[in-house]
Amino acid sequence: MTNAWTDIKNTDLVVVMGGNAAEAHPCGFKWVTEAKAQRGAKLIVVDPRYTRTASVADFYAPIRQGTDIAFLLGVINYCIKNDKVQWEYTKAFTNASYIVKDGYAYSDGLFTGYDEEKRDYDRSSWDYVMGEDGFAVTDPTLQHPRCVWNLLKEHVSAYTPEMVERICGTPRDKFLRVAQMISECSSPTKTMTSMYALGWTQHSHGAQNIRAMAMLQLILGNIGVRGGGMNALRGHSNIQGLTDLGLMSHLLTGYLNMPTEKETDFETYMSSRQFRPLRPGQTSYWQNYRKFMVSFQKSMWGDAARADNGWAYDYLPKLDVPAYDVLRVFELMNSGRVNGYICQGFNPVLAFPNRGKVTSALSKLKFLITMDPLETETARFWENHGEYNDIATRSINTEVFQLPTTCFAEEEGSLTNSGRWLQWHWQGGSPPGEAKHDTWIMAQIFLRIRELYRKEGGPFPDPILNLSWNYHDPNEPEPEELAKEINGRALTDLRDPADPNRVLVPAGKLVTNFSQLRDDGSTACGCWIYSGCFNEAGNNMARRDNHDPDDTGAYLGWTFAWPLNRRTLYNRASADLQGKPWDPSRKLLEWDGTKWTGYDVPDIAPNARPDQVMPFIMNQEGVSRLFSRGLMRDGPFPSHMEPFESPVANVFNPRMRGNPVARIFQSDVAQFGTSDEFPFAATSYRLTEHFHYWTKHNRVNAALQPEFFVEISEELAALRGVVNGGWVRVWSKRGSVKAKAVVTKRIRPLTCDGKVVHVVGIPLHWGFVGAAKKGFGPNSLSPFVGEANIETPSYKAFLVNLEPTTAPGVQS
């Protein structure tokens, strides 16, 4: 989230699209009801289903799943056509005025440079015209035909209300009502917030869904302001933290990147990360990359990371592919090329698409280790549960270890919420039986392997033998010492460059924050964006001052928010070029003539003049990007793409299937279905009574929503002869499930491109262990294809068929 949950109370309009906040984040959603009750805010829900969020909305519009880009570009088109643009903001704070190279173009649903064979674009033409001064060329008057604004105007012009209705199935009048309500927020004194989640990410074009809304928010002037922003609600309690800390194949901590094998040494790696500003006087904060990277390497390997060995650059594995993401790993596993796998608090048998393939892959492992507080289907994937897990147990030679871990109540430490708050919590209960902390288990595995390498040697043991492990008790590192390691410390006295006699941070002391990090090996820092979380002032994540001066919703004294305790990202954009708040009643920051002051930690150098230094300091431009250059694989602008399994063809290019650059494994091609065989558009989602596959172990939640079901319209029920509460079979090209049918008025057939589209809703909370009734998940049906940029599986739009059936275990 760019903003915080508590900031939502400041909004005038909430758009819930690509999410279902009332059901998935009820206590965060309270700030929506608060905004409605206290400031008369309105709530719009755009969703294939009339959800519980829709039940308290002021306006609901249906949409076919997977067509959000068309809808949002339609709204942008409406705003441009009706002059509903926050012009001053758009001109000053976006790249609207930047001139784009001549080669760039878009036609027939594709951008310049498409290579069908490689399923990839040559992105070289998707860039700015560079001037002789080394800076990007701009036209502040927006007259130049090749400026971003004019290209955008042209790009979105195809998305008329009629086109939106044709693609999305949203009736024209409903679309226009939504567009009109949103467009009102182009006023500098009206803000809209976007609350989204996996309804936008779990598509082969997920990142472009989000970009489309971000662009809309930018031209409305809603980024960086109170009650505005792009608010990714996120899923698990620490999914933000795990991402920030880089527990991903392609990441290191703090959004530093894992090196690829093309980056043969440290200097080569750094050479593509200079981040020179593209406009004069701009911050381009990533220019500090080297400081963060060197400090990270020092944190990992201490004295073994030296200038003369490129800071132990070789200790990091080098990628030969963009990422060994989960889909790639399970593809490799299924082809016999993975031997061991560790699932720490993870249940891939229910979490990953095409469950048949997932189970087949796990069956080929030599060993599987699960670490979890609860039973999981994954730990027992080899166990036969009749129709629910019909498997030949004896034929599976995987050795399985099921290790019991503690849960939240039995451990101490911090979690990062979606508003980037790092909140400390304390242990209140004793672990059951022999359950152990994850830190103990990871330490035990590590210490044993390290001992084996000490004794036996082996290939390249250096990164293992030299990993810094200076903990009070090496067998179980303590949360506070780990937090300090993440925060970072001075390794030698840090002296003031202006006054070498002045020691800023004595050797061994914790750094105050990342501004003190250096690239000469004199500092260590586990995760630069978290620096400041635990410094010499103490554990800032444990702060509990819940005062909120002037009721802004900032709560600067409550725990710690990254970066630097900042609560609203890009908050300098809440003020105009003179440094005055766009909306005085919603002031965040103000320029007092010499520095920025206000309710939040400024997201800009405190003395950066408002007319000179632009707010988007992480970008080389200093401004935000309506045109994203070559930074995304599937286009510098979002464009309409159908799901890989879609009930209708892409109206811009009927030959084009799904995202044209999304990766597809050869082995999966035969497992895509078409609408002839699978006529219904399925989508999957959570219900408010459950959290993923955890709460089915809880007797209370199991009682509140006991049994797997699918939701269909009264029209589809009539078409297929399904009765409410009866059993149905739902199947795709990849699998088949049985479920109870909930026949509802909350799902209605849509008409898209002249065709009636029936939607089948499939919640995801059931499996074969726990207190709830045994059931299936949508992952038995969904396709093995990921998002083009990040490989998030496409759970939100695929094709199924459906018929009445009998209960599992009963012959029909």
Binding site: A22, E23, P26, C27, F29, K30, T33, K36, A37, Q38, R39, G40, Y50, R52, T53, A54, S55, V56, D58, Y60, D551, T688, E689, R699, V700, N701, A702, A703, L704, Q705, P706, E707, F708, F709, V723, N724, G725, G726, K740, A741, V742, V743, T744, K745, R746, A771, A772, K773
Partner: protein
């Protein structure tokens, strides 16, 4: 910005505290003629359920189960979100879901109402109850069941215009929402009100709750709900659980909320009747139970009593609520 009144939002104490609800706070006691007058008048309290803010998440059900240590069974899906399918002796409150197409706009509205004891100012259950002290009413308005005194006859079910109490199959006693009397007694709000994510459920003095409702109703009217209003039915003397309804002109669309609930005329005079009919019969039955060994089949008592009660209610002429279907 003004804050809404919410006495529920504070954390409960862990240090021992004296209960603020005792014998001297009773204003009514079932089948008891000579109840001493209360020693003081507590401020009437109320739970206000704003249906328009409710997101149907069932946090109230969950919090209710956890606080009251009940054990609802894991049932099945019968084609609805309402789970369990009815109130039970283990589920004192229930979100009832209704898909309603508004004829004036043709828009679907998903009406979600938290069902449970309304804590009537004039409680039909208490008036119908023949067991002395099985149902009590405190001066703050809470109507509570004292299970030790309950004989499981089921009269309370028949006497309730909202069809709320449920008889346990396990111990043959009547159960329903206590308004978390144990929490209120130490200055806390009910567990459901504290949990409610959107604060659609709020708790406080009845006066405050009515004032809070006024603000909510004004907001709803500004959003086009011309008939928004407060449900505090006079037929039962008003209630200590009230609703804000967007369509207060037709409460019945909210899963059969009675438009104009009343205690049947018979129950109103129940006390006299039971003295001579109900209790005499029960005295006989109890004596009989000793002879016939009803220990193993205690339901027999309540079944007969239910029949008696049903007869009484029917002859009373008032509209009886639909019979309780126990489907736990």
């Amino acid at each position: 910005m003004s804050d809404s009144p919410r006495t529920a939002v504070s954390n409960p104490p862990v240090q021992p505290m004296a209960s603020n609800l005792g014998q001297g706070d009773l204003i009514r006691r079932s089948a008891t003629d000579e109840l001493p007058p209360p020693q003081r008048q507590l401020t009437p309290v109320a739970k206000l359920i704003d249906v328009s803010k409710c997101i149907g998440c069932k946090a109230c059900q969950s919090a209710c189960v956890e606080w009251n240590d009940t054990t609802p069974a894991v049932g099945e899906n019968v084609g609805a979100y309402t789970n369990p399918h009815d109130l039970t002796e283990n589920m004192f409150t229930l979100m009832r879901f209704t898909e309603w197409v508004n004829p004036s706009t043709d828009n679907l509205e998903w009406l979600i109402r938290k069902d449970g004891c309304m804590h009537c100012a004039d409680p039909g259950c208490l008036k119908a109850c023949p067991a002395p002290g099985a149902i009590v009413q405190y001066t703050n308005g809470i109507v509570d069941f004292i299970h030790e005194n309950c004989i499981g006859c089921g009269y309370c079910v028949k006497g309730c215009p909202f069809n709320i109490p449920r008889i346990s199959k396990a111990d043959h006693r009547a159960y329903k929402c206590t308004l978390c009397s144990d929490r209120v007694a130490v200055g806390q709000g009910p567990a459901c009100a504290k949990a409610c994510p959107t604060q659609a459920i709020v708790f406080g003095t009845k006066e405050d709750m009515k004032r809070h409702a006024e603000g909510r109703i004004a907001d709803l009217k500004s959003r086009g709900y011309a008939n928004a209003g407060l449900y505090d039915p006079p037929g039962v003397g008003g209630t200590h659980v009230m609703y804000v309804l967007h369509h207060n002109d037709q409460p019945h669309i909210y899963a059969g909320l009675p438009d104009d609930p009343k205690i049947s005329a018979v129950v109103q005079t129940w006390k006299g009747l039971t003295k001579y009919v109900g209790l005499a019969a029960m005295g006989f039955m109890a004596a009989g139970s000793l002879i016939h060994g009803v220990f193993t089949r205690p339901n027999r008592v309540s079944r007969e009593d239910e029949e008696n009660a049903e007869k009484l209610v029917k002859t009373g002429g008032a509209e009886p609520p639909p019979p309780a279907e126990e489907r736990a």
